[in-house]
């Protein structure tokens, strides 16, 4: 086990440094890229915090959709690989036309909406806000 600060805490420190110390001192493409870097660091921090719960739920939903009942892999990396594999099977069924209509399509749509919402909760695309209007 590592000492504090945690990984997420370190990333937040890097994000703060980039946003508050680096971005204001740069201009042009470098300023833009520093902002992109700060944003990416924040994405990684959110991913570390949220990924386990998201994968857990995604694994369950995919199991229900595909009628699978294997043991959930215990470690996060193995779980991520297993979710990718189930998603691959799902994609193949969609390509075969299994989701063109019917009740299964409805279940699938609910799953995909949730999966995409989870991805957006991590990547959090920038919004145009009044405060930014400068």
């Amino acid at each position: 086990m590592n000492d504090r600060p945690t990984g997420v805490e370190l990333l937040r420190a890097v994000e703060r440094f980039l946003e508050q110390e680096v971005v204001p001192r740069l201009d042009g493409p470098r300023r833009y890229h520093a902002r992109v870097a700060a944003n990416l660091v924040a994405i990684v921090a959110r991913e570390i915090e949220m990924e386990e719960a998201q994968l857990d739920s995604e694994w369950e939903r995919l199991g229900a959709l595909l009628g699978l009942r294997e043991q959930r892999p215990a470690l996060r990396d193995a779980l991520r690989d297993a979710v990718r594999e189930r998603t691959q099977s799902l994609a193949e069924r969609i390509r075969r036309g299994d989701a063109d209509r019917g009740a299964w399509r409805e279940e699938l749509i609910a799953h995909l909406r949730r999966t995409v919402a989870d991805k957006l909760a991590v990547s959090r695309p920038p919004r145009v806000t009044r405060e930014e209007s400068a």
């Binding site: 992109v36 969609i94 145009v128």
Partner: protein, 350 residues
């Protein structure tokens, strides 16, 4: 820039480029090289698929003139899939049809002069950054008039006589029937994506089931979006970037204009974050555009967002394959934005 490849001309110095341009322009306007001055040549920031250079040309002789110009060429030694000569003729035809575009002057299809074909056009003053358009107070009037203006301009673009002999090259300029376009983007997404994307597989089935039969084919801009609009505080100054122009379904341009990425987060207003689809269609039709079937618009909007996902996947793939760009790295995660939009268009709001 900077690297020369086997079999291509060595990269020219800027002084050498200016000297060659002076001789080229002199020949075009029937002046002696000594009566033409070319200066202030500098590379402008721009896409990777073509280069933009800024330069000033001074003509002497009987009708002296100062011309602030932009030079557009393929990167030397790497001629893209698009054709500079065709783009030049399309811009000329667009200007004649009343579309606001930079006036084009001369085109050179001889690759030996500057390493690649190029053309010269007017350098207009204006802003092109969509974020400024969406946020800055000085562009409030431009924002308010943007969607009606873009609808009306698009009707003029689609009215360009695409059968005129000078535009003959359009027939083979990429794009095609909706069915061909879907096949192309679906195949590319499957080939380039490193992760499974069930939303894209679902959208592919949806598109294949709804591809409209080929009907009237018009000159389609091919990249009609807010990022290719030059504007100032008074409104739209010019429509830029005509390198993807092809023959196709006019609704393709309307659908692409509604794609999520051009809203910059302002999703309540689907057209560029500043207007509604109804407003766009009304302006388009009032300016003479063919009546737009809402289902056709939805089809092309789904197609456009699928293409957007493909853009993100392609850029992410370039980074994974070793292009060391932070911006490319950041784009892979944006695929989810296109997926969210696809789900909403196909299935309605969550």
């Amino acid at each position: 820039m900077g690297e020369s490849r086997p079999g291509t001309a060595p990269v020219l110095s800027e002084d050498e480029m200016m000297a060659r341009l002076r001789d080229f322009v002199a020949a075009q306007v029937s002046l002696a090289p000594g009566e033409v001055r070319v200066g202030s040549l500098r590379r402008l920031a721009g896409g990777a698929s073509r280069e933009l250079w800024s330069l000033d040309v001074e003509l002497g002789g009987a009708a002296p003139a100062q011309l602030p110009l932009v030079l557009r060429r393929d990167p030397p030694g790497r001629q893209g899939e698009s054709d500079r000569g065709l783009e030049f003729r399309v811009l000329r035809a667009a200007a004649r049809a009343g579309v606001p575009v930079p006036r084009v002057h001369w085109c050179c299809s001889d690759a030996s002069l500057l390493g690649a074909p190029f053309f010269l056009m007017d350098r207009l003053e204006g802003e092109t950054l969509p974020r400024r358009l969406l946020r800055n107070p000085e562009y409030a009037a431009t924002r308010a008039g943007l969607v009606p203006a873009l609808g009306a301009i698009l009707a003029r673009i689609h009215a360009i006589d695409a059968s005129s002999p000078e535009l003959a090259g359009l027939a083979s300029a990429g794009g095609g029937s909706a069915r061909e376009e879907i096949r192309r983007i679906v195949e590319a997404a499957q080939r380039l994506a490193v992760e499974p994307h069930p939303v894209l597989d679902l959208a592919a089935r949806w598109l294949e089931a709804r591809a409209p039969e080929p009907r009237r084919r018009v000159l389609v801009h091919g990249d009609y979006r807010v990022g290719n609009v030059m504007f100032d505080a008074t409104g739209v100054r010019a429509i830029l970037d005509w390198e993807l122009t092809h023959l196709g379904d006019p609704v393709e341009d309307l659908g692409w204009l509604c794609v999520r990425a051009w809203r910059f987060g302002n999703d309540a207003l689907p057209v560029g974050g500043v207007g509604t689809r109804e407003e766009l269609v009304r302006a388009y039709q009032e300016a003479g555009g063919t009546p737009v079937d809402p289902e056709a618009l939805r089809f092309w909007e789904v197609c456009g967002n699928f293409k957007l996902a493909l853009v993100f996947i392609t850029q992410c793939r370039a980074w994974l394959d070793g292009v060391p760009s932070l911006e490319l790295a950041s784009l892979g995660r944006r695929t989810a934005e296109a997926e969210a939009e696809l789900l909403e268009l196909m299935e309605g709001p969550a």
